[in-house]
Each structure stands twice: as C-alpha cells, then as structure tokens.
Symmetry: C2
Subunit: 315 residues, 2 copies
C-alpha cells in the first residue's frame, strides 16, 4: 500500500501526476486540510507537500499530530514556520537549484526587455505606428546594456546563474550576500554599497524576516534615475508601495517583476506603468524545472519513508 | 573651409550633430539628391554618408561625377552596388562591429521573450486575468531554454557576440558560415545541417544576393514545430511570406524579428500572431552604438580627405 502524503497547497494536477504514481496523495487543494479531511484522516499524515511560499504556521502543524516531514515543491520555504517545525521534530525539505536556470533566464529576460523597451517596441510595430512613421520617443537611441553594472543581491544557485549570464553581456557584475564566495565576480560588502554601485539590481536573495522590505524607498533612491530593478525572488523583499512611488516620480528608470507582495495581485498602480515588464511568477515554471523539482520531492519522500535523512533538506 | 559631404539617407538630426561639427553636410533627407541640389552642387561632391540598407545603384553614383567615397553609417552595405562603385574607383567604408553588442543583445532579448512567452505573460498580469485566476495556456509549463540548441547563421562580430551570450545560458551553440573560425563553438558545414540541428535559429548573416531568401519554406520545415527563428540581420534573408505561412500552420513555434523585407512595413499577417515578438529595427539603436558608428564614419571621412586609405573599408 502506498504511503499517504497530504498535498497542502493548490497545485495543477499535471504537476502531481508523477508523484501520485508512487504515493497516495490527499489533495487539500489549497483549503485548510481540516475542511477537506476528517481529524482521523489527518491524524495519520506523516508527510506533506507544500509550495514554499504558502503560509504553514504552527497551528496548521498542530492539526497533523503525526507529521514528521514538510516537503516544499520548489526552492523556497519562506511560508514554513521553521522554528515550529523544529520544535515538533518535523524535517523540512525543498528542491534546491532545480529551477535555477529557468529563473535566471527569466531575470535576464526581464532585464533585457525593460532596458531595451521591448513592450513599447512591439506595440509600435503591431499598432502600425512604425509603418506610418508616427514619431515616438522609442526611436530616440537609449543607453544599451554593455557598460551597465549588474548587482546581484543573493548568491545562491539562481544568483550565480544570473551573474554568469550577465557577465556574457559585456556587463560588469558584482554581488552582495551574507558571505563572500569563491566566484569570479566582485564582492560588495553591503547591500547599500551594491545598490549605489549598480545600474541593474537583480533580487535573487531568499525571502525571510531578514530580507523583508530590504529594498525600500531609500534603496530605490540609491539605485537612481538610470537604475533598473529586477525581482525573480519573492515580492516581500521589495516595499511594493515604495517601488510604485519610485516608478511614478522617476526615482528609478524601470522594473521587471516576476513576483509581487500579494500574489496573484499586481496592483493597478503597477500595471499602469509603461516602463515595467510584469510576469505572473513563471520564472521557474518550465517543463524541465518541474521534472527536476518533482525529482527532489520524490527523493525526499522516498528517503523519509525509508527512515533515512532527507537528501534535499532545509533543516 | 570644411569638406562637403552629401548625406544620402534620411537620418535623425541628432545622429549627425557630431559629424556636422567637422564636415559641411548636404542633407538630401532621403530624397534623390538631384531633387534637392543643383547639378553644379552635386558635381563637387567627393564623399557621401548613407545607410547601408538604402539602395544606392550605379545611376545614383552617375549623378555624382566626383564621388570617390561612400561611407555607410552602420555595419551593413547591402544597398550599395559594390561593382558599380569599384568600376568608378569609389571606395566604400562602413562601421564594422560598432553596434555588434547592442544587436546581439537584441537577438537574445527576442529569443528569451518569444521562448518564455513574455508578451502574453505581461498581458496576463496587466489585464487582471492573473488576479482573477482566469485559466490560461500560459500557466502550463513549457520547455525552457537550457537544453535548447542555438544555431548561429553567420559568424561576424554580431554572430560571435550572440554565440557567447547564448553559451552562458546553458545552451548548446553551433554556427554555420562560409568558413570555419577559431572559436569555441561547433562548426556545422551547411545551413541545412545547422537548421536541422538547432531549435533556435539566429540570423546574423550579412545580407546580399547570396543570402537572399536563404531561409525559405523548406528551411522552416527543417526548423520544425519546436523551432524558433530570430532575425536581427536584414529582412531579405528570410522569405517573409513563407515565414508567415509557417507561423500560421505551426510549422515553427515562433519568431522574434527586428528586421523585415520592406521596412518600415511589418505585414498585418505578421503582426496578428501572438507567438512573435516584433521590434522596429532598433537592434543597434543605442547611444553607445551610435557614438561608435559616428567614430567610424568620421575616421573614414578624415582619412579620405587626407588622401589616406579608409580605416574601416568594405572595398
């Protein structure tokens, strides 16, 4: 008989097909599990799959007295109360680096699109304005990317892949993270100094209490009127209201965002700007990334039910 | 007294300011020079500036009996009848590589935007469809770029910069050009074989009679239903009608185009596709590129009027 696994977040079914072949999945479909399953059903749950960004507080763990493994689908685990899990002897696993290339690709896509004004350019062609030689500020040359300075905030698997890609674009690359790494890019010892130095700030840091609103109005002023902000990490790292204000008064030049403070809601004030490029948190959303993330989830579950340590463990 | 230089194409004035400080510019503003200047005025013209794509046939040269230097602003010179120039003892110069980084950046921008479905993604967020959880094929995972194969057709300065950028994206890179080069990318000895092999075809070849419609219906069938086409070179390299047919019947997956057969006209049939990204020939249109191109134009003109060989010469 296959082991039972609670699916805590709402995942598209296609993402769970492979996992469902090996485990008996109990789909809560994003609802509180107690609404979907009886207390008896929940009392036997030893392992669960969740999306790292979904809030998973102590109270939710208390509904699952046998729970011993929280397996995050994806690299993030910011929704999980790690202290509560630790105090209950619950292991937390995730899928590190599985989607790093896809997310780094999206960071570069957003950077290039916003700096080269891709959306207005496409609209200029599609609308017929180019054919009719309608004057457009688009046709005035703008600064290109070679010579720009890319600052990478956070040097995990995604940050490294962003740095490697940006370096191939004849751009200077530097990074700030808690510690210096043995990498070919310049280390800047503070976030302030990185933001002062760079003209494109790439947010690749892990979300958490220590990075909440790390990018605020002050930081955006340091980024400056020629500066661009790209976020493929989590919306919580940026003070979104401060970002909207900075875009409105041209404190910064533009932004490319795949993540937002309250997903799936991108505020109207943000969607009205022409100098932003907005994607619906699809950075890591490629077929290869999902297969790699599923591989991590299944390896974690297999190990857990075999009584072994999680191979892809947060703590 | 400054030397007189005929400006044959229509250029925005801002692009000619630096050159105008050193030479006396005679602006034909895109009209036949005989409509703007008297035969006597034209008889003294020894040098002209043109855009490489502007047709400059033998008949136009015959209106300028003293002409000895045709200086193309930009890397291309496909509009210039080189045989006619040679037979009249007219040197032809251009601005090689001056805009290569900017054009290669645009090639990557187009590739990333079309493969990661950036335009529908931005629209999904802006329209509020994401907030209202409206189902969308966009939210189904698609293949990402790592693992894709980039085929670069033409390995001049732009092709090399495209190859270097693509290699940083965990993508396999190969190229076809008339001859093999000492570069770290795989050489494929025919265009057919390159197109069969690759999943993203980057057109970076010089325009000319030998490359006219090199990408036709047969080639697009070889590129196949998972294949993407990116063109930042010249529209003439692709049979645009065949491309439209291939997009309509899903012979290929999508296209990113900065250039078209008849600029500034992108046909309605092309602008109606959701799986294309279209830019108005702005690949090389950055401030740095223009400064570098102007440097080449001025160095060529200085040398010409000093009786020296052109430093940036086509022939």
């Amino acid at each position: 008989m296959p082991f039972k696994v609670l699916v805590y977040s709402r995942f598209p079914k296609a993402m769970m097909v492979r996992i469902g072949e090996r485990f008996e999945l109990m789909h809560a479909a994003g609802k509180p599990p107690a609404e979907v399953f009886t207390a008896e059903e929940l009392s036997g749950v030893q392992a669960m799959i969740t999306a790292g960004g979904t809030p998973l507080p102590a109270a939710a763990m208390d509904m699952l007295p046998s729970l011993r493994a929280i397996i995050c689908y994806g690299t993030g685990y910011d929704g999980v109360d790690l202290k509560a899990a630790a105090s209950r002897g619950i292991a937390v696993g995730h899928s590190p680096a599985a989607n790093a290339a896809a997310v780094a690709d999206m960071a570069m896509t957003l950077m290039l699109a916003v700096t080269r004004r891709l959306l207005p350019a496409d609209d200029y062609v599609r609308s017929g304005s180019w054919s009719s030689a309608k004057p457009s500020p688009l046709m005035r040359p703008q600064p290109g990317n070679p010579g720009r300075r890319v600052g990478v905030y956070g040097l995990g698997a995604i940050g490294r892949k962003i740095a490697a890609r940006a370096a191939a674009f004849d751009m200077d690359v530097a990074y700030y993270s808690r510690s210096r790494h043995d990498v070919p890019w310049r280390y800047v010892p503070s976030l302030e100094a990185l933001v002062e130095w760079c003209s494109v700030l790439m947010i690749a840091v892990r979300a958490g209490a220590d990075t909440h609103h790390a990018i605020d109005g002050d930081m955006l002023r340091k980024l400056g009127p020629d500066g661009y902000l790209v976020n493929i990490s989590r919306g919580s790292v940026i003070d979104q209201q401060a970002l909207i204000a900075a875009l409105a008064d041209k404190t910064i030049a533009g932004a490319g965002l795949d993540v937002y403070e309250k997903e799936p809601h991108a505020p109207d004030a943000l969607t009205a700007f022409p100098n932003v490029v907005l994607t619906p948190h699809i950075g890591g959303h490629t077929l290869e990334s999902h297969v790699a993330m599923q591989d991590c989830v299944m390896a974690n579950l297999d190990a857990f039910f075999a009584g072994k340590p999680l191979p892809h463990v947060v703590m």
